[in-house]
Symmetry: C2
Subunit: 322 residues, 2 copies
């Protein structure tokens, strides 16, 4: 029997692919390339497929564009880089409406106008499924590269904002009968979290030269686990400190912590820095930012629940692409 990518799974496929990449420039949100002594180039790429990463049911074209750009800008932020620009490769069925393409580009452009960078190129191809391939690049001073692998025992773990809201917004969009007694404004806040996430580029300028981190695009649990694995440390998180938006508390307080840990696509940053630096940074961040735990010398990532019980987090709950 021929082995398929389904049979080896996403981790197997990643391992296969990583054999072909230089070991020192992969395994983070973006690749860092030393172009000149004072400027490092950061490159990151995303492929988004209709009915996998977006759909007409949940995301109008303007939002598809915004999210596509925001996800890539978030990867740049997660490397400490500021955006230069991005390229857009599109695969489109011939019956795609012009309005959809226009909305997509307007969404991308609006996101770049707000956070920096320009559309600097692209390619158009005929395909049976709408496909968006974005490659973004940014620049960072060599001393300010933010990686996953430098968290230190005793570091505070800080998140730049609320978690779980994007997943809640998706739920509301997918199930029209859900949240029928939710206030209109709460619904808007959650739907907006899904359709118009904010890449955390503003915080980059506030960071010193000793921080580890990544973004929470695949969920808060995944981010902490990835950082701990890369840095060969453990962590303890305090469940009651994980910031949940009031709108999400009112919508579904039972699901909230699960969506915060595993929902993904909140595009916040998860940062590890000295407790003093974390305390100093916190007042400069928007409401929702919080210190949620600390880095330990253990090998596990533990979650101290409200009840006092301690749960071990692991990768099994994350999203599997294949």
């Amino acid at each position: 029997m021929t082995a398929t990518i389904q049979s080896i799974g996403e981790q197997g496929l990643l391992k296969l692919v990583q054999r072909f990449c230089p070991a020192d420039i992969i395994g983070d949100d973006g690749a860092v390339l030393a172009i000149t002594p004072n400027h490092h180039l950061v490159v990151t790429t995303d492929v988004l497929i209709d009915n996998v990463h977006f759909s007409d049911r949940t995301t109008p074209p303007h939002s598809v564009g915004w999210r596509s750009a925001a996800a890539n800008l978030s990867d740049l932020a997660a490397m400490g880089a500021t955006p230069i620009g991005l390229t857009i490769g599109l695969g489109l069925p011939a019956d795609t409406s012009v309005a959809w393409v226009e909305g997509l580009y307007e969404g991308i452009q609006d996101c770049l106008r707000q956070f920096g960078g320009a559309i600097v190129g692209g390619d158009l191809a005929r395909s049976s499924v709408r496909t968006i391939a974005i490659t973004a690049f940014g620049q960072v001073k060599p001393s300010h590269v933010l990686t996953r692998s430098t968290a230190q025992v005793g570091d505070a773990i800080l998140v730049t904002g609320y978690h779980g809201s994007a997943r809640a917004g998706l739920e509301l969009l997918l199930h029209s009968d859900s949240g029928h007694d939710l206030a209109v404004v709460d619904r808007q806040v959650l739907v907006r979290a899904h359709q118009y996430p904010t890449p955390q580029l503003a915080v980059i300028a506030e960071l010193g030269d000793r921080a580890a981190g990544m973004d929470s695009s695949d969920g808060l649990a995944d981010a902490v686990l990835q950082i701990c694995r890369s840095s060969q440390v453990g962590a303890i998180l305090d469940q009651s400190a994980i910031p949940i938006a009031p709108a999400l508390q009112r919508y579904n307080s039972e699901q909230a912590i699960d969506w915060a840990l595993y929902g993904g696509e909140d595009f916040e940053l998860v940062l590890c820095l000295s407790p003093d630096a974390a305390q100093a940074l916190l007042p400069k961040l928007p409401i929702g930012a919080a210190i949620i735990g600390q880095i330990t010398a253990a090998t596990a990532v533990e979650l101290r629940q409200r009840s006092g019980e301690v749960e071990m987090l692991n990768f099994d709950r994350g999203f599997q692409h294949f």
Copy 2:
């Protein structure tokens, strides 16, 4: 009726998309970004779709990988840039064989080993159709950027190699009954031209700082027309000077000139430079390189046929993606 991208056509779609890009960095093979005073970054992107740009019938996975990389490296060469690296975004059906993915990456890696650059990142997504999105970036000294828009009246038009062979190779792969009396070695030369094109990076180092040009990925006629439009000049080409590989002459001498002009995917460079510079460059280039005409003050691109008749070239014969 809702307008579709089919109804506005490829040119209409390009116009729409270009509204969103800064005017000074589009319209060439790649975008040029001034990162530092001494290093400009060149970025180019391609989307390749199963059964549009490649197929199991004509291209084994290793060749799909090689061609994908070569097409992007050719775009870098067409801007005068040397490769730094590329990212690979893949959309894959779950039943894709592991061997296909492995072959693809090996093909990309073999091409980069020979011509420079590394695989520096990527993304994997589930899709119903095999999709390859490659973004390549390279660097070029600001004084050595090669553009389409600086051809001058009196310039010689030089091509770096044979044209039409890639299209002939595709023909042989698509029609097993074709060329049945062709020598095995001729068949191999033509099939190889389709499956393993050579990006013309070697010539870059030989160019002075006054050359215009692009690659012939969409055919020789398209390249000359694009250069003339961008430079607001005309051209006269000498049909008898257009280099046709001996293997192609033997395979199909009647079709040869048509495939050379319109077949595409030969990935040679079409350069415009002073007659003296062209004569000096020619001996340094591989067999097949030739001076095929000159830039004129006319508004048309003319082809002087062997018979002495003059034909006007235009864009209508090119490949339409939508």
